[in-house]
Symmetry: C2
Subunit: 279 residues, 2 copies
């Protein structure tokens, strides 16, 4: 691990072993792309974090302090990733959160991930995961630390030519990739899974929605099946670090080209939102 | 926190912040009652841990080493709790578990919990939680570190006179307490929720099952509803630390007495299994 790490504002590699982040996954995280010392889409990351703290009923979290710590961690990076973990803090044993508890801030500044730079341009191969997402409205949409489902899904394959695994919920609906949101296009209508049962409401997904508005592409947030993905003209993925990845093949099913995805990529680039393949 | 803590066999209060236990809740835990220096039901705790490591596809875990470390941590305690957390270990960012990874062992030796000693004898008051358990067969039964559902459920009440919250799944089945397993008795048939969709297969639950065999009480593992609990003659709970707690009131619904629960308590005591109210 070559990351620099700060805990509650102090350089440190070590966390108190009584922290509820470890004990119960009682926390949230954000993974932020950094270009030229600038944490991209930071206001959107902090807004989602704020939604997460409200949902989990965290005590007061000073988002202004967090913002300044994230900016500080980003300042000296040319291109990299800042990951923030915010836990409910340290407590005695027991699920019940104590009344007076101080959230723990952990900020990691690390290397850009090893995804091939060509993914955004040439598209990626994807697979359908056997592992399913549970339906849990209370935790849907937020980026919390209970991520065993993603760990199990991502354990299903080791072929480096497969960039992402597509996940269904336990009732056969299409939800997302293991680390990405997912979009279908048919007849210039973009459809994306509704995320009120499970899945993470991605920061780049919000940008895709705004781009669709600007480009007059219909945005349809709904329940979708795997068959819908196979019947689509285009399939693509989004992630705060990767930007948009066209899917050129899903378990052997090919997608020819991705005109709407290309249009969205171009729009985002024009708005100064940098993506994996453009750096 | 007055716990003594050992990490990978060394006294330490601090965990590497890159540990997957924190990053993703990628780990398991056990909470073990200690009496007179002896970790109670240790072989059952280790067996469940082993089932968890198999399910999560952990690399080799040396259970013999773990056993000896738990015994060492317990040796000087008169009455207390040893908690073990076993994580998949330290890795770079990303859900995918690396091939060569060394699990992290964290052992906490701490005070006996603050439950009133009288709970086993006088019974407890319980409530039904609004928060539901998601249906996730891949994680059901094992005691993993993704515990936000329990944290949210336990956050619902602060009345110290309510000892436990009963949880249903998202499809209205009765599952368990926030920190306990649950049993109904009607006409001397004991029914307990099947745990293949969600819930934790408790170490004390296994003892209750064995006690039922010995005492010729019918053991019926099945799907149950809240109404089944209200219609039952007896309702009681089990937990590795607490032993068996008769429920004398569930949201205002009373249970008069608990002859089968008393019989089971007596049997367990006779087998040398100590419980909260007997120490």
């Amino acid at each position: 691990m070559t990351d620099k790490i700060w805990i509650n504002g102090e350089p440190s590699q070590f966390l108190d072993a009584s922290d509820r982040g470890l004990q119960y996954g009682d926390g949230l995280f954000e993974t932020i792309a950094v270009f030229d010392g600038h944490p991209q889409l930071l206001e959107f990351h902090l807004a989602r974090l704020g939604r997460g703290t409200a949902r989990l009923k965290f005590p007061f979290v000073d988002l202004v302090q967090l913002e300044s710590e994230i900016r500080l961690a980003s300042a000296s990076m040319n291109k990299g990733v800042v990951k923030l973990i915010l836990t409910r803090g340290i407590s005695a044993r027991g699920y019940r959160p104590p009344e007076h508890i101080q959230p723990t801030r952990i900020i990691y500044a690390g290397a850009w991930p090893a995804h091939p730079e060509s993914n955004s341009r040439q598209g990626v191969r994807a697979r359908v995961c056997a592992h399913r997402l549970a339906i849990q409205p209370a935790l849907a949409g937020i980026k919390h630390l209970n991520r065993l489902e993603q760990v199990l899904a991502r354990s299903e394959w080791s072929d480096p030519n497969i960039a992402e695994g597509i996940m269904l919920d336990t009732e056969d609906r299409l939800v997302c990739g293991s680390m990405s949101n997912l979009y279908l296009v048919r007849d210039r209508i973009l459809s994306t899974p509704a995320l009120h049962r499970c899945g993470v409401d991605g920061v780049m997904r919000e940008q895709v929605r705004l781009a669709c508005q600007a480009l007059k592409v219909a945005w349809n947030e709904t329940d979708l099946s795997l068959q819908d993905a196979l019947d689509a003209d285009e399939l693509f993925l989004s992630n705060a670090l990767a930007g948009l990845w066209p899917v050129r093949e899903l378990d052997g099913h090919g997608y020819a080209d991705h005109p709407v995805c290309r249009e969205l990529q171009g729009y985002l680039a024009g708005r100064g939102i940098r993506q994996c393949g453009q750096a």
